[in-house]
Assembly symmetry: C2
């Protein structure tokens, strides 16, 4: 049943290349990474990368696709386990999203690169996630748990974008005077956000 200790293992090789490529692309972006870098980081020859992926561009696409799938399934799982709409659960969702990003800095940087590229290949998956999130908020609005005079999509977008930018621009604002830790910021943001989406008196 268990794989024999063969000297060749194409799947394992593909995986090693993907992993090395993910690290390099996430760190430096697509164009400044070279095939030689990729090859030596993965411990294989350039030719072998071409054999498995065809070209540098297609390797980059494979890396992005894989990362998006990971992100998508993780978020979908979080959405499904969130259960019935409830004001407390919105808070929990924001916290969960924030901590997911904190635990997955590679995903954050990958998103940032794709934003700049104008890549829209993950559009379908993202639209699906956002649609589900907005629907969840809409139900909470109908039950009077959240204010109903704002677009549900905008509610989700607000917290998603704030969390995303917090980690994407970390290097930029981490030295701002008075800026707190991740947890301190999250706590303050939640105070503002939860009070902001609470039903109007």
């Amino acid at each position: 049943m268990n794989k024999p200790a063969t000297t060749r293992d194409p799947e394992q090789t593909r995986l090693r290349i993907m992993e090395a490529a993910t690290d390099l692309f996430v760190e430096q972006g697509f164009s400044s990474v070279t095939m030689s870098q990729l090859a030596s980081a993965a411990g294989v020859t350039k030719s072998l990368i071409h054999h498995h992926f065809g070209s540098k561009e297609r390797l980059w696409e494979a890396v992005k696709e894989h990362a998006f799938e990971q992100y998508f399934s993780a978020q979908m799982a979080m959405l499904e386990e969130a259960g019935e709409p409830d004001a407390g659960l919105l808070r929990a969702s924001v916290e969960a999203y924030f901590h997911y990003l904190k635990a997955n800095p590679k995903a954050v940087r990958l998103f940032a690169w794709t934003h700049l590229e104008g890549d829209t290949s993950c559009g379908d998956m993202d639209a699906q996630l956002m649609g589900a999130g907005a629907e969840w908020v809409r139900q909470a609005q109908q039950r009077g748990l959240l204010r109903a005079d704002v677009n549900p999509t905008h509610i989700v977008a607000t917290f998603v974008m704030t969390c995303t930018q917090w980690f994407e621009a970390k290097c930029h604002h981490q030295h701002w005077p008075g800026m707190g830790s991740d947890e301190a910021f999250l706590e303050d943001f939640l105070k503002i956000f939860m009070a902001g989406v609470a039903p109007r008196d």
Copy 2:
């Protein structure tokens, strides 16, 4: 007094190179732009770019520095004309910042590139701006115009990051289902944000 119509004008040349470089770097990032591209876009030879800027890296730094100075002085002017703390003025500041970013998409993309680079060269200017903004909020808190149980820096950061991400990731979320226009989003964000930072009952 007026400049003669000379065939040579080094300052004008420098400017043309800077403008072409800004457009290309903003669009494609540093590493995927080539000197040949820059030269033909600016209508000069590669050698002339080296003559005026020394290297590709130093041209990139000049472009960033210039953009940061523009941004910094524009923001400082906005802060100074904001005047005395007031809840209505916070709303106006958010709107002004949002519309500044909307009117300066190049600056937005430049920030995004520098975030990914981990560039912190604009740290001092940014810290100064953020310090002034946070001080402004702190005074409003002391006067009871804003809730005082959140870090003033976090209040400023929240709206700055939301506005920034709205434009940085536009290509990403503009196709999300239910997402409104710039103005519709800004209006909803302001509803949430202003209610969120209002003094507690």
